[in-house]
């Protein structure tokens, strides 16, 4: 019962705020609405018993990505005005409606397997066992390290250009 209420409240907040992100002209307010959306989706992770993932969602998306977005907003000139209107409104609407239709269709027609098992209690240790334990995803971890390395180098190059 409580879970249902929590889910619907969080889902409504998430959908509402992400609609606001698109409709809001003021870029800064749009970024803040995006933060609300991130927080609501972290809440949804919690209702799915994925507490570690929820914390990660807040640390990465709210703590870092939102700051990054705000910093990049500070790089733009017209913060309060947003992007000017153009003629692509109608095609964009058609394409996004198509995507929504495909998404809803595939969600409704897929037979979702539901696990009967109890959710693992401290999710972190299970996650560590799967990631780093035997056999683990060691190659993938190293590849993500290289991805992050390229991000750092890219950031340095970006800054040196200025």
């Amino acid at each position: 019962m409580g879970l249902q209420i929590a889910f619907w409240v969080l889902a409504l907040i998430a959908v509402g705020s992400s609609a606001g992100v698109i409709l809001q002209k003021n870029l800064f307010r749009a970024a803040l609405l995006l933060v609300v959306c991130f927080l609501a989706s972290a809440g949804i992770f919690v209702t799915l018993s994925a507490d570690f993932l929820a914390a990660v969602q807040v640390i990465i998306n709210v703590g870092a990505v939102a700051i990054l977005i705000i910093m990049s907003i500070m790089l733009t000139r017209e913060v309060t005005r947003g992007s000017p209107s153009n003629r692509l409104g109608a095609p964009a609407f058609v394409i996004s409606a198509l995507i929504v239709f495909i998404l809803v269709f595939s969600i409704l027609t897929t037979a979702w397997p539901i696990s009967g098992a109890e959710p693992a209690q401290p999710t972190t240790s299970v996650l560590a066992q799967i990631l780093i334990g035997d056999p683990g995803f060691i190659l993938i971890i190293q590849m993500s390290a290289i991805l992050l390395l390229s991000t750092i180098i890219g950031a340095i190059v970006l800054m040196k250009e200025k």
Binding site: T47, I138, Q142, A145, A155, I156, K160
Partner: protein, 123 residues
Amino acid sequence: MLSEFSLIALFILIVMGFATTLVLIPQALKKIGIVPSKPSEVKYEPYECGLETIGETWVQFKIRYYFYALLLITLDITVIFLYPWAVELKNLGSSSLGVIFSFIGILAVGYIYAWRKGALEWK
């Protein structure tokens, strides 16, 4: 676990309610007349040490701030790998040391490169 998070969720509401009341108390007191209110045009202009403000405030800032935010994201993702490993280290044993050390080692290359290129200097 869920009951714990429901406590947290309700606590968020309590704290937000408390903070909102704090901010709104002066509005109520203004109605009684305890909080004074003497609006004037000059009062509502930005305070810049007594001078009038010239030009827009919401202007472009430099890209340096953006660089630090990018660096934060990469390191935050590192942390995501570090914490589960730290919790389970006693059970994972010494074999996991190599994985994480090489992971940090690869990132350290980027760190040293940034240092050598002078990207860590604040200019």
